[in-house]
């Protein structure tokens, strides 16, 4: 069936939502893994029936689930996560040093070409890889062993590696982002890393232009232009056109440049989406109006998209992994809220409808375009 499959992780389980290309009527299955926090669910680009899900509780820890049939059935993987060698230390909120301690997987990024290869971003920040479909996990330790790692410090949500981007043109290149260390790039498949934070400016750290210490919330890439990345930082929306070597601000006329997710139109690489949030201390939409902002100019000039979204008394948040775009001709844009709504637009953001309104708080939204 051609259509889309939306994969939603929530505080109390995962949901799989399918529709045809019209994206008006939805079949919803779930909750899967009921009662567990599901930080992320994502499908393999190489095999759309292969899905991976990260489930976690404070009681029983981390489990990765795998589906081979598009989310109809799931199998818990036995492999666990352990740092490679000495864990080392990072900075704690009070400036003291603490050992890295594994807590959970925030993000799963399947390989672009191999359904059995998948990367996992951890809290405390580390990058893991499985090459056997999630059965066994091995850390790519060079990132955590980077010379700057002892100075990394957690953001308010924990010291999480939340963004993993695989470069489709430069096969050994990948990007990751860590709160609150910043963005990093590897050009040798994870054997070595370098911070790519030049141009970021963060008032909340002693040296606003420091090499690391920036609270990057999310980075997005359009695969057709892999050297151009867009970033939603703690404050500021940024872009780079040289694979992160330098960044410049594109916040322009946004009502607030604080926010979490950012995504890109699949066919128009200069069209980007963000959801402004009032401030770092007030994680609510400005003026109680839920507005997605779209720039068709690569930033700086933004228009609010409000048709179908609540424009009064709305005080939900949209978390960093909770926005996605499909790649149909008229592209769909999707996002989930901490109030449990999942909104879909089948016309690139011009109008919105809720797929569902009353889920647990949404942690992540991904979408697969099914041919």
């Amino acid at each position: 069936m051609s259509g889309v499959r939306v994969l939603v992780g929530t505080h109390k389980g995962a949901f799989v939502m399918t529709s045809d290309t019209k994206r008006k009527q939805w079949d919803i299955s779930g909750p899967h893994f009921t009662g567990w926090e599901v930080y992320h669910v994502k499908g393999s680009p190489a095999d759309p029936n292969r899905l991976y899900a990260s489930q976690n509780t404070g009681w029983f820890g981390q489990v990765v689930q795998r589906s081979n049939d598009g989310g109809k059935t799931w199998q818990a993987m036995e492999g666990k996560f352990a740092y490679d060698g000495e864990p080392g230390t990072h900075k704690w909120y009070d400036g003291s040093s603490r050992p890295f301690e594994f807590k959970r997987i925030w993000h799963l990024e399947p390989s672009l070409t191999d359904p059995d290869t998948v990367y996992a971003g951890a809290e405390d920040a580390a990058l893991f890889r499985s090459t056997d479909g999630g059965q066994n996990w091995h850390e790519l330790p060079a990132l955590r062993q980077h010379s700057t790692a002892p100075n990394w410090a957690p953001g308010a949500g924990g010291m999480c590696l939340h963004t993993i981007i695989l470069d489709p043109k430069h096969r050994d290149r990948m990007f990751v982002a860590i709160s609150a260390a910043g963005a990093f790039r590897s050009d040798d498949a994870g054997k070595s890393w370098r911070p790519i934070n030049q141009g970021l400016r963060s008032e909340g750290i002693p040296d606003p232009n420091a090499e690391v210490g920036h609270c990057v919330h999310r980075i997005a890439m359009n695969p057709s232009r892999p050297d151009t990345l867009f970033m939603q930082k703690h404050w500021d929306v940024m872009r780079t056109d040289d694979a992160g070597d330098s960044w410049r601000e594109i916040s322009g006329n946004l009502p607030s440049d604080f926010g979490f997710p950012i995504d890109i139109h699949p066919h128009e690489p200069e069209t980007i989406y963000v959801v402004p949030i009032k401030s770092d201390s007030e994680h609510i939409p400005p003026d109680g109006k839920l507005r997605v902002y779209r720039s068709r100019t690569g930033g700086n000039e933004w228009e609010p998209l409000t048709n179908g979204l609540p424009q009064s008394n709305c005080y939900v948040n949209i978390l960093r992994d909770a926005m996605a775009v499909d790649s149909l001709e008229s592209p769909g844009v999707y996002f989930g809220t901490t109030g449990g709504q999942v909104y879909a637009s089948a016309d690139a953001g011009d109008s919105w409808n809720p797929i569902v309104r009353d889920l647990p708080a949404v942690l992540s939204v991904e979408v697969q375009t099914l041919k």
């Binding site: 404070g58 009681w59 029983f60 820890g61 489990v63 818990a76 036995e78 666990k80 352990a82």
Partner: protein, 98 residues
């Protein structure tokens, strides 16, 4: 035969219903029971005790015979009533959160 009662989340994860019955080689202790449990259900590795340190996870408790055994040394023999199967070894998710 040692009877083990898992909390609901772990029963779902291991895809078992009701109690688990385990043959434990040698002396029955929390450690040997968990070794046998994880051997039968590898997916439970890391969910009850840390996979690296093998220490009990902070919000998991062990009860038996109306006693909290959570803080006992992991190699302390379990009560005879557990060893004979009269009483189960209970693995509990601690009341926490609200």
């Amino acid at each position: 035969m040692i009877r083990v009662v898992l909390p609901p989340h772990l029963r779902n994860l291991a895809q078992v219903k009701g109690e688990v019955e385990l043959d434990v080689q040698g002396q029955a202790t929390p450690q040997s029971v968990l070794d046998a449990l994880e051997s039968r259900y590898p997916v439970l590795r890391g969910t009850i005790r840390d996979q690296t340190t093998r220490e009990r996870r902070a919000l998991v408790r062990f009860f038996a015979c109306e006693e909290d055994l959570s803080l006992d040394p992991p190699d302390r023999p379990l009560p005879d009533a557990v060893v004979t199967g009269k009483e189960p070894f209970l693995i509990i998710g601690a009341m926490a959160g609200g």
